[in-house]
């Protein structure tokens, strides 16, 4: 029997390969994602391994977050160096938002990897590991010296001796030191596109810590034979209560935690793509196997007549699926590694530079590839395989063999039940208060899609009937033939269309989400934009407070409202904790809810409505904030309505922000109010002030709205990628089904040709059939997409996305694309049909 399976596979390799291709795509996404994220993880190893000394002393509760305003007093260093277990102690100064300006006056790098500034230190990292070392030139020694990492110097176009403009978030917004050295990781590791500017420690203190004799943290290096644990015990005995000491391993781990979360998110996102490809691919496999089994039913009946057991016949089909799965896994593995390379290249474009880091292929990668491929293929082939078992041996002797198939009515019932259950799960997940809401929603969507697919042979009848009527009217006989062909086997037509349906349903949902988010942002900005110009760092980073001071003095500027904010955690969830002075709050038009008042003192926090809801707290309650100042309890003073010019989702007083909370003294956003001077004149004057700070930009309402919409538009781009993937798989599915149908109908095609159907007419017939399938899939998909999208956006209404916008134009484009997909998919099968030799076709049994 095994031989029979393999023979039969070899006899149909092209068709089967085509259906495997969807699995190959799905698997390659899985593999690509795993390889890429492993590589990414590995590439950060040297950065994090070098990010801590044997023991790190830092302000208590600082954790692995960004450096804040709280520091370690300078005199601690000598005390620590004198410990018996310490070989040395070195003060470190670090900051982000330190941009190297290139020869074209543009900042190097950008989104993603940080722009780092630090005090130069040759202190060894954990376990004596050498961190950054000077590879050319010398270490910085005075206020006029700077050292860059080799790659950044390269990108900016500077060599030793050049003057390097650098933008800092400190009091001195711009400095222009001389490049005296180039640094790199001793072990060949890379900064992954982050930029690094290192100054001598005193200069760094001046620039980033306001000139205090203090350090962001202190590294204590263990003497020979002293363990991290022993050393940390000694350190803890001598330091003050407002400082903490942790082992280097611990510090490195906590430094890496946020990044790991970000990579995990990316991984999830990419795996969703893989999941979609696999689900759609599974449909394709089911369909292909169903058709192949139907075509071979006489052969299979013969096997049964010759004494093969029901089980043997079923197993032989499953063996075919297994072989295909292994093949798909292998091809997917190869393609996935290429995909990982492509992803790396894509991320390099966005600034995350992984060059020099070889791809990491962990053991789990091939394991995942093969198990996913085999599981999906075999599971998909199971239904057709079981059906073959029901072929009666006597059918081998009959002329026309029909495979027993489940009744359409039963499929309708099963499908509708599944869809209703899925819909219920979807609603519960979106509107209810469940744990694992994401899984519930995902499962619900999948159930609805499967249900509609199961019911679609009947659901699609009216649509196909309409298409047939239209074809008849427009294309005459050719149209009639095509229309009848699509109705001939509604199961097959619907199953083929479902590939496209799923892809378009998801793309449609995302389109609606994107359009609604865009429209909501627009409306919010329109409703609440105040002032004339908003000044922000285009990379989202902090900038120097000196900018606000300079702007106040500009002629025509009446007021400048200053906003600060930074990342923190509230009850474990990320929030932006910000500070705005009381008068500026009025100026910004922040709407305080239910008799709330501005936060005062250093214990009160004002929460955005949504944040308060999520944390389930009311004014007067106590919340725990994890800020650079440590894990602290704050009292909720009140809540406020979301406001696009106030990105912070929690507000404290400016004093508490840099005081108790311990954030750095850096601004994030300025809102400039003019005194009535013409907007364009005012704009020009502001731009003049910002001229030497290339990362800062002033935007009016319209520009600000555009910038705010940008991430949404990027999301929409991702949707198009998803759509593209779905289209590719759908084309494959339709090609496959049509090719198989043409083979099945060889004799009929021959007859039509014999009675005078021209090649062109025949091609048109196949094309129309294909278009009917693809449009069916697209219509079902778009309808489902609109349903999913509207339901989802309704559920998100109270999260600040108040406008539900259905991009009809875009959806219409999907339909047009579907027609094109249909035409495209028909090319090969139509050509094949047209090329059939009439005589042989007629003689074919």
């Amino acid at each position: 029997m095994l031989r029979v399976s393999l023979r039969s596979l070899l006899g149909r390799k092209v068709r089967l390969l085509m259906s495997t291709f969807a699995i190959v795509l799905g698997v390659s996404f899985v593999v690509g994602t795993l390889v890429f994220s492993d590589t990414l993880q590995r590439s950060f190893d040297s950065i994090f391994a070098s990010s801590a000394g044997d023991v790190v002393v830092r302000p208590d509760g600082q954790g692995g977050g960004p450096p804040g305003s709280r520091t370690v007093p300078g005199d601690v260093v000598d005390e620590l160096a004198a410990l018996p277990g310490a070989a040395r102690a070195d003060g470190q100064v670090a900051s982000i938002g330190v941009y190297v300006i290139d020869t074209d006056d543009r900042p190097v790098g950008g989104f993603g990897p940080p722009a780092l500034g630090q005090g130069w230190s040759d202190a060894p990292a954990v376990d004596g590991r050498e961190g950054l070392v000077i590879v050319e030139g010398r270490a910085p020694e005075g206020p006029e010296d700077v050292v860059l990492d080799t790659r950044t110097a390269d990108r900016a176009g500077y060599s030793l001796g050049d003057t390097v403009p650098i933008q800092t978030p400190g009091e001195q917004a711009r400095v222009e030191p001389t490049l005296v050295g180039l640094a790199d990781f001793a072990d060949g590791g890379s900064l992954n596109g982050a930029t690094l500017a290192a100054f001598d420690p005193a200069t760094a203190q001046d620039l980033f810590l306001g000139g205090q004799d203090a350090w962001t943290e202190v590294w204590v290096t263990a003497a020979d034979g002293v363990s991290q644990d022993e050393l940390v015990e000694q350190v803890r005995e001598v330091i003050d209560a407002d400082l903490e000491a942790v082992t280097g391993d611990e510090a490195a781990e906590s430094n890496a935690a946020d990044l790991q979360e970000a990579i995990g998110f990316l991984e999830t996102f990419l795996l969703v793509f893989a999941g979609v490809a696999l689900v759609v691919g599974a449909f394709l496999i089911v369909n292909t196997f169903s058709i192949l089994v139907a075509q071979r039913s006489r052969e299979l009946a013969l096997l049964r007549a010759l004494g093969a057991s029901r089980r043997q016949v079923t197993v032989s089909v499953l063996v075919e699926a297994l072989v295909l799965g292994v093949l798909g896994g292998t091809l997917g593995l190869g393609l996935g590694i290429l995909l990982a390379q492509a992803l790396a290249a894509l991320f390099a474009q966005a600034g995350l530079d992984l060059s020099g880091q070889p791809l990491v292929i962990a053991a789990r990668t091939p394991l995942a590839a093969y198990s996913v491929a085999v599981l999906v293929t075999v599971a998909a082939a199971l239904v057709p395989a079981l059906r073959t078992g029901r072929i009666a041996p006597v059918q081998a002797l009959r002329d026309d063999v029909a495979l027993p198939e489940s009744s359409l009515r039963r499929r309708l019932v099963v499908g509708l039940v599944l869809a209703v259950l899925g819909g219920a799960a979807l609603l519960v997940g979106l509107f209810g208060d469940t744990a694992y809401a994401g899984w519930v929603v995902g499962g619900g969507v999948l159930a609805v899609l499967l249900g509609v697919t199961a019911a679609s042979p009947l659901l699609s009848m009216p649509l196909l009937g309409a298409a047939a009527a239209l074809f008849r009217r427009v294309f005459g006989t050719v149209g009639v033939l095509a229309g009848q062909n699509t109705l001939r086997n509604p199961r097959r037509t619907a199953a083929t269309a479902s590939a496209l349906m799923i892809g378009l349903a998801l793309a449609g949902t995302m389109s609606i989400a994107g359009a609604s988010a865009s429209a909501s942002v627009d409306q919010q900005i329109e409703d609440s934009f105040v002032g004339d110009y908003v000044v922000t760092n285009v990379f989202g980073g902090p900038f120097s407070p000196s900018v606000a001071e300079a702007l106040v003095d500009v002629e025509g500027v009446d007021r400048v409202a200053v906003e600060r904010y930074d990342v923190a955690r509230l009850e474990g969830d990320f929030v932006f904790v910000g500070a705005v002075s009381g008068e500026d709050l009025d100026l910004l038009g922040l709407e305080l809810l239910d008799g709330s008042r501005p936060p005062s003192g250093d214990r009160e926090v004002l929460l955005a409505e949504q944040v308060a809801d999520d944390a389930d707290v009311r004014p007067g309650d106590t919340v725990v904030l994890e800020v650079p100042g440590g894990e602290q309890e704050w009292t909720v003073a009140g809540t406020y309505a979301a406001n696009p010019v106030v990105p912070a989702t929690a507000l404290v007083s400016p004093e508490a922000f840099s005081g108790r909370a311990g954030f750095a003294d850096q601004d994030r956003m300025l809102v400039v109010f003019g005194d009535g001077t013409a907007a364009d004149v005012l704009g020009e004057r502001i731009d003049e002030v910002l001229a030497d700070q290339p990362t800062l930009a002033a935007q009016d309402q319209q520009e600000y709205a555009e910038v705010q919409r940008e991430p949404i538009e990027q999301l929409v781009l991702m949707v198009f990628a998803l759509l593209g993937l779905a289209l590719v798989i759908a084309v494959l599915g339709i090609v496959n089904t049509l090719a198989l149908s043409v083979i099945e109908r060889t004799r009929e095609v021959g007859l039509l040709r014999a009675v005078g159907l021209g090649r062109g007419q025949l091609r048109r017939m196949v094309t129309l059939e294909s278009v009917a399938i693809s449009v069916l899939g697209a219509v079902l998909g778009v309808v489902l997409g609109v349903l999913f999208g509207v339901v989802m956006m309704t559920a998100l209404r109270d999260e600040g996305l108040e406008v539900i916008s259905v991009p009809w134009g875009q959806l219409a484009v999907y339909l047009v694309l579907a027609v094109m997909v249909g035409v495209l998919a028909a090319v090969l099968p139509a050509r094949r049909a047209a090329r059939l030799d009439v005589l042989q076709a007629i003689a074919t049994e």
């Binding site: 009929e748 009675v755 005078g756 021209g758």
Partner: protein, 254 residues
């Protein structure tokens, strides 16, 4: 007598060298208009090949085929398709109806493909002749074999082709259905002067025709006018005896 189709020195060779088979070996033949002609011969005699070449389904290696005034040799696929559509009707052994279309739609298919309007009167007449008036809305799988073949005959007649080719039209039918189909063909010759060429190996079927042409080894070897079953059988027996010494060769051909 007007000639509906003529064949001159038609040769068709399959394979080459040792395996060479001359399916047609210089056949010349005129088909009279308004005549019912049968082509007979043992398996491998070339009768099917001859019909396929005449019907623009296959091309010969040399020689010429004319349907009416049109020389088929050298025509491209497009012209051949048009010729099949407009000048030729087919009846196949295995009915070959389009399963998705009703009987009526099947009958009208060649006209519909050509984009021609059916002549309503003629259509009614054809339908009446084949006796399917009450079956027009049925699909092929709702019809018996004999009914399906009568639909196929109606399809061949409805476009008033210059010539109808029937390839073993009764091969898949029981004798009663077969007789129905044959008398139907006969009547269309008698009443509508339709030219019909039928390939068959059944002497009973041949007896319905005006003329029987006998083929053996790719050549015309004999001919009968106004044949009856016994006369046909006699010629066939004679041919079998003549072929007996070369039995091995014919067996290979077959």
């Amino acid at each position: 007598m007007t000639v509906a189709a003529s064949v001159r020195d038609l040769t068709k060779i399959y394979g080459s060298g040792q395996t060479e088979v001359r399916a047609l070996d210089g056949v010349s033949l005129d088909i009279g208009a308004g005549e019912f002609t049968a082509v007979m011969g043992p398996s491998g005699s070339g009768k099917s090949t001859l019909m396929h070449c005449c019907a623009a389904l296959d091309t010969a290696d040399s020689g010429s085929v004319r349907i009416g005034d049109v020389e088929l040799t050298g025509l491209k696929d497009k012209a051949l398709t048009a010729l099949r559509r407009d000048e030729i009707g087919f009846v196949f052994q295995s009915f070959n109806l389009v399963p998705t279309l009703t009987a009526k739609e099947n009958v009208l298919l060649p006209l519909a493909i050509a984009g021609r309007r059916p002549d309503a009167e003629w259509f009614d007449q054809v339908v009446a002749t084949v006796g399917l008036a009450d079956r027009l809305g049925h699909r092929p799988n709702q019809l018996s074999g004999g009914q399906q073949q009568r639909v196929a005959v109606a399809r061949a007649l409805v476009s008033r082709p210059r010539i109808v080719f029937a390839d073993e039209p009764t091969g898949n039918l029981d004798s009663r259905s077969g007789a129905e189909v044959l008398s139907l063909l006969r009547r269309s010759v008698d009443e509508h002067q339709q030219t019909i060429v039928m390939v068959t190996h059944d002497p009973v079927a041949a007896a319905y025709t005006d003329r029987v042409v006998f083929l053996a080894d790719g050549r015309v070897v004999d001919e009968l006018r106004a044949p009856d079953r016994d006369a046909v059988l006699e010629v066939m027996t004679r041919m079998t005896e003549a072929a007996a010494p070369r039995d091995d060769a014919s067996a290979q051909e077959a």
